[in-house]
Symmetry: C2
Subunit: 406 residues, 2 copies
């Protein structure tokens, strides 16, 4: 008998009908004799609607109360799912983050998990009940309700799988798995059947929307086997596994390998001129204190460049205005039309062949690369947002369709 953690996102539990369909699916897994923990998000756009509601009530809702409000979302979906399961004669029991013992730091709206107790969930599954756990939420050591921020539900699922030593953690979503590029952009994008954790971290980090890098990083740390699958379709999906299981088989022993092209329209580019090069830490302190991601950051001679989440723009601006006022920042610029496109793969940078080829391929279509950084597993370049899809297509054609990498 194995222990399976399944996670269903907001779209998978978006309507009563879908909840019943999910329940059928869970019932099948249960029938085949597995112990089951199911992590759910709030239904569809519930979270967005609750946020909107908050701003209709108050101009500046406090983060603490926002967490209190938002955590109602998963309460609803998990209670409904439990009911649907009971209707199918399956004993199910729902647990909030707090009941599950998901202990976080006290950072409202962006809490990090410190540890998971999990006693009640363990008891439930040992009694052959399906445990339904609220994703995205936890409780601080001072008993405050917290939410985990971006990637929260996936992170809940992976963290539970890690702590309870689950055999597998299945992430159900509205696509068939992880592709070699966004299939909405690239028609010939291939489903990746297996990808090692380290490359999936890079991919998630640089834009593949299906999994959040935070949850993949956690899966990598604890060696949790992830499977990304379609909620409403039988598909093999994509397995995210330890590297040992996968050996890449490029012809030349030492050649680089490209696995995927990732793009990310949810990012924008930020450029900061510091007052002095010695005050860089002021910026990092601000971003770290507020858990604001700075992606592919580079720093040179008093200038800083990195990507930020588009919807964190206001928060960054407010912070940088204060830092300007305090004498750390000379000026800053949010460059909204620059987005990152990345190649994910192995053995980049033994030489610069791949960098040369990216620059060349894009230049020959008059696409200007304005910024770029590279590391052994990924190369990220900036292109104009209006040319992004074209850039993805060109790179996919060159590095994936016209090669035998996959």
């Amino acid at each position: 008998m194995s222990l399976v953690v399944q996670k269903f996102g907001g779209t998978s539990v978006g309507t009563p009908q879908k909840i019943r369909a999910i329940a059928e699916r869970i019932a099948e897994t249960y029938a085949s004799g597995h112990q089951l923990i199911v992590v759910v998000s709030a239904m569809g756009h519930t979270t967005d609607e609750l946020v909107e509601l908050a701003y209709k009530v108050s101009k500046k809702p406090k983060n603490r109360e926002m967490d209190m409000l938002l955590t109602a979302g998963e309460r609803i979906s998990m209670a409904l799912l439990s009911m649907a399961l009971e209707d199918l004669k399956i004993q199910a029991m729902s647990f909030t983050g707090s009941q599950t013992g998901i202990i976080t730091d006290g950072n409202h709206c962006r809490a990090r998990i410190k540890k998971i107790l999990g006693d009640r969930v363990k008891n439930a599954i040992s009694e052959n009940k399906v445990a339904i756990v609220a994703g995205f939420q936890g409780v601080s050591e001072s008993k405050e309700i917290t939410t985990l921020g971006r990637g929260g539900s996936d992170t809940t699922a992976v963290a539970l799988a890690a702590v309870l030593n689950a055999d597998i953690c299945e992430i159900y979503t509205d696509v068939d798995g992880i592709f070699s590029a966004d299939p909405r952009i690239v028609k010939k994008a291939k489903l990746i059947k297996r990808i090692p954790h380290d490359l999936m971290v890079e991919m998630a980090f640089r834009g593949a929307g299906v999994l959040h890098y935070r949850s993949v990083d956690l899966a990598k740390k604890y060696g949790v086997k992830l499977v990304v699958k379609n909620s409403f379709k039988e598909s093999e999906g994509t397995e995210v596994v330890n590297r040992e299981v996968i050996k890449d088989t490029i012809k030349g022993m030492e050649e680089y390998q490209v696995l995927a092209v990732a793009d990310d329209a949810s990012k924008i580019f930020l450029k900061i001129n510091l007052m002095r090069p010695t005050v860089a830490s002021a910026i990092w302190e601000f971003s770290s204190k507020n858990h604001l991601a700075a992606i592919a950051p580079m720093f040179y001679d008093g200038q800083m460049f990195f990507y930020i989440e588009k919807d964190a723009e206001d928060e960054w601006k407010k912070g940088l205005e204060k830092l300007t006022h305090d004498g750390f920042v000379k000026s800053f610029e949010v460059i909204r039309n620059q987005v990152p496109v990345s190649l994910i793969g192995n053995r980049f940078l033994q030489d610069c062949t791949s960098l040369a080829e990216i620059s060349d391929a894009l230049a020959s279509h008059d696409i200007l690369v304005t910024h770029g950084v590279a590391s052994p597993l990924a190369i990220t370049v900036s292109v104009a947002a209006s040319r992004k899809d074209e850039a993805v297509k060109i790179l996919h054609r060159k590095f994936i369709e016209n090669s035998d990498c996959l």
Copy 2:
């Protein structure tokens, strides 16, 4: 019975006495019933002496003849080692790169391995002979003798271990293993007992001198278990293994972890102003054609920055002068007193806590960070060469001695 590949570097076979000592060591492994392939470098400074000799004979020796000349080095050491083994009543047989069937591209002095045939070596070990293989050398498809360039002997050993499916590849060297910092700089540096391939690639890439990243990248690709050990001392050494075997155990589930501080005095910083941002590919083409590494490269708005090998300075300069003449480069600057110092670890960049802490720690000792890039597994900053050791000490104290990461 398992198949063991052992590699001994130049210092390990530096004198006749040492060759006899190595032979004794090999005899022990042989006596315990293992099949054995031993990869050797040229004795001590032989390669340097041969290079010097070449320049005494000719102003501009051709790369082809240089390869012919240098490959004599391993011939000497492997023949001597075979003799020492025969004296110990162990049947040994030496093989050149060509005899081993190490097929490379035709790039003299910096060839890449394309495949390995290995038939003669397989025959030798199946007859219970110890196969002694010349490291660093191969043969192109047009039967030209080639050498593999930097990291060549380690790469030979790992590639053989991969192709022949060895159980382990032991790299013998003059230190006890991989440390959390250079023990010559940091007295409290800790021996790392186990490190996953991906972090070892980053570490090697960013300066840890013991292993070359090229060989580690290959070990990662093929899942080869590496052990780095002292040639002349009984020590457990450091195992470089698949991530699955190691689970890092930081208190907070989602906290970052620092494993080591790497520094690299063999690098210098290069800054290039392009004539137009669109001509970046000219630089990458030059570096890729010549297999010249560009480490931690970044590109912004027509400016490029990266580290190069100190001893490749002349080659870069010559190339860049030509590119200036051809209208691609406006100006370039070699900044000799800036060297990279890196933190290697896990889960950097979920937020910027670690970046903030690096900047802060160094700034509080008036060490200026002039350049920095970060990726999920590593953060690299530039400091003045004269302050490098101090920076390493400060970072090691802060992130490793005063933490429970290891």
